[in-house]
């Protein structure tokens, strides 16, 4: 295992056994994500992108094979320990933004810090700082239903970065956005990656996301078909 790796998958298989016929979503995937990467896992629908992202983000465990996060075998962690790992080390950006509807933008960003037990004054300061950095300070007191999709997704990015995680996983982050808004969101993420060294892993089949990836992993039928570095 690479000493530098943030997350590493070794011969990972994932079989969903819920329906009449078991579905093998991943068939022996191995990969390593190093700090500072801007990686896109690309592939058609059903190729296993989201499944792989869920495993890398400690949201799920593989059927066989192992996933290590900073050297720690995730299959050996309890649900509680995995939740704690996600809270402190991983940020998520979801396709449907998934902000908490009753909270304002500022409170949504603060929420992760609340869960981390950060004192109120500090979490407010940090949340505001991130919103300003991301150019959405004016949205601080708006609730999700008062914001456009692009604005909500920017707030979701702010929520993901505010706790300074080691890794941010973004699952189809531009799927619900028009291309101009999607492009602005990607600019923002690239900027965070470049200036603050935040590590991003995307899953997407959106050409404009794929275009931006500095490392591309093409997934097909649960296998990494090819890898490109730019």
């Amino acid at each position: 295992m690479s000493a530098m790796a943030i997350v590493q998958a070794e011969q990972v298989h994932k079989i969903y056994d819920e329906g009449a016929v078991p579905v093998e979503a991943l068939r022996g995937v191995s990969l390593t994500i190093a700090p500072g990467e801007f990686t896109v896992i690309a592939g058609p629908s059903g190729s296993g992108k989201t499944t792989l992202l869920n495993l890398l983000g400690a949201l799920d465990v593989p059927t066989t094979g192992r996933v290590f996060f900073e050297g720690q075998d995730l299959s050996k962690l309890s649900r509680r320990e995995r939740a704690r790992l996600r809270l402190y080390k991983i940020g998520f950006v979801f396709q449907a933004y998934n902000l908490i509807p009753v909270l304002t933008a500022l409170e949504n960003v603060e929420f992760v810090l609340l869960l981390q037990g950060v004192p109120e004054r500090e979490r407010r300061r940090r949340a505001l700082e991130v919103l300003e950095q991301l150019g959405i300070g004016e949205l601080a007191h708006k609730r999700p239903h008062e914001m456009s999709g692009g604005q909500q997704q920017r707030v979701a990015v702010a929520r993901a970065v505010v706790s300074r995680p080691r890794l941010i996983l973004a699952d189809e982050p531009t799927a619900n956005l028009d291309s101009a808004t999607g492009a602005r969101l990607l600019d923002l993420m690239e900027q965070l990656n470049r200036e603050q060294g935040v590590t991003f892993v995307f899953s997407s089949h959106d050409p404009q996301v794929i275009e931006r990836g500095r490392r591309l992993l093409w997934l097909h039928d649960g296998r990494i078909e090819r890898e490109e570095r730019r």
């Binding site: 790992l85 809270l87 979801f94 509807p101």
Partner: protein, 412 residues
């Protein structure tokens, strides 16, 4: 979990409550009505049983009684004690004691020209007795005893039975300590009507000297000293004091010793209230489970997101619990807000149950019931209702906990 996390989560829980305003208001109103009913029912119930006990105590029993040792177990006419006036003076010096009255007591027969009936003859010092019990205020005809002459007070019901009126003569007969039968003629001076039908049928009051003469007792003899205290709760303490201060030949009893059934009944009523709490609690809990379950099920994807961003199971459980607990606390506060003015009105004017007064009189309660607010009522409502609300959240919270982030978010 730190307090500041809980405060933060409470804010989120509060906002979550108002996502579906109508649903929350419906559940909330059921809690409010539940608390309103409980508070009024409990306070009226407490008032009723307290009145029943008070009426019995102020009618005849008093708070503390002093007899010759063994009288309570065997209330025979020869079980009198002497130097009653000295004991009375000694007892009256205690600051807890408001008034003391001596009595001479005998079971006897009261006969008129038409009928007769068994009675408890009570020889009293009229002035002293009127300070301890309220028999003097219960007269419906005639006047109270002067303390001189052969006059008698009887209940209206007994008068009807004997077919006598004011001024008519009745003959009282009772066994004396020497085994002879004493008898004397008395003139009916007054008729009383109390809250107890039984009392009105069986009690007859005569001046204490007449009673002593009838029974052939010494002039300083008494069967009983009745004490009224400033506060009934001091009875047990005073009993202990008096027991050590008075000679061993005297027994000191509190109303708990004398009418244990009434005290038990009062305590039983208090226990029965818990049954009412249980019934209302069960009715409330299903409404709360239903509302919370709906609130949880429609937010499963959101709970998945919360789990994904690292919210622990404990915090998620706390969040759902807090939502329900807030309904319970708010409902209890509003229920109190609603019931206190009604309570205040009833505490001042009373609840007039004249329509049922016959039955209430038989129970020694009186037609007007005044509710009583105790710390127990406050404590019960503030503890039990929010607890019920919290219990109602357990199953919904359990459902929320078993959300797998991946599964839940798939539904997004």
């Amino acid at each position: 979990m730190r307090l500041r996390d809980t405060i933060g989560l409470t804010r989120v829980a509060w906002r979550n409550l108002w996502r579906n305003r109508r649903r929350t208001l419906i559940v909330l109103s059921s809690v409010v009505v539940g608390v309103f009913v409980l508070v009024l029912f409990d306070t009226l119930n407490l008032g009723m049983v307290a009145q029943m006990l008070d009426n019995h105590l102020r009618l005849h029993v008093g708070h503390v009684q002093i007899h010759r040792e063994g009288y309570h177990a065997n209330p025979a006419v020869e079980q009198f004690f002497q130097d009653a006036a000295t004991v009375q003076q000694q007892v009256a010096t205690h600051p807890e004691v408001q008034a003391v009255a001596p009595r001479v007591l005998a079971h006897g027969l009261l006969s008129s020209a038409y009928n007769n009936g068994g009675v408890q003859l009570v020889g009293i010092v009229p002035e002293a007795e009127s300070l301890v019990t309220f028999i003097a205020k219960q007269l419906v005809a005639g006047r109270y005893l002067h303390g001189e002459g052969r006059e008698i007070l009887i209940g209206e019901r007994l008068a009807r039975k004997l077919e006598v009126r004011l001024g008519d003569r009745v003959v009282a007969m009772a066994a004396r300590p020497d085994g002879q039968i004493g008898s004397e003629v008395f003139r009916v001076a007054g008729l009383f009507r109390t809250v107890s039908a039984d009392f009105d049928r069986t009690m007859a009051f005569i001046p204490i000297d007449q009673a002593r003469a009838l029974l052939g007792l010494p002039s300083d003899a008494a069967h009983e000293l009745v004490l009224l205290l400033n506060d009934a709760r001091q009875a047990e303490t005073l009993k202990a004091h008096l027991q050590s201060a008075l000679p061993d030949t005297l027994e000191v009893l509190t109303y708990r010793d004398i009418v244990p059934l009434l005290v038990m009944q009062r305590d039983l009523y208090a226990q029965m209230m818990y049954l009412i709490y249980l019934i209302i609690g069960v009715a409330l809990i299903f409404g709360i489970i239903n509302a919370m379950l709906m609130a949880v099920l429609e937010r499963l994807p959101e709970f998945g997101v919360l789990r994904a961003i690292g919210m622990s199971e404990g915090r998620l459980f706390l969040l759902v619990s807090l939502e329900s607990l807030l309904i319970g606390l708010l409902g209890t506060a509003l229920g109190w807000g609603l019931s206190l003015p009604v309570y205040a009105y009833l505490a001042h004017h009373g609840l007039n149950l004249a329509a049922f007064s016959e039955a209430l009189t038989a129970f020694g309660i009186g037609a007007v019931i005044y509710p009583r607010l105790t710390f127990r009522v406050v404590w019960n409502a503030w503890l039990i209702i929010p607890l019920v609300a919290w219990l109602g959240a357990l199953y919904p919270a359990w459902r929320a906990l078993h959300v797998e982030p991946v599964e839940a978010m798939r539904a997004v």
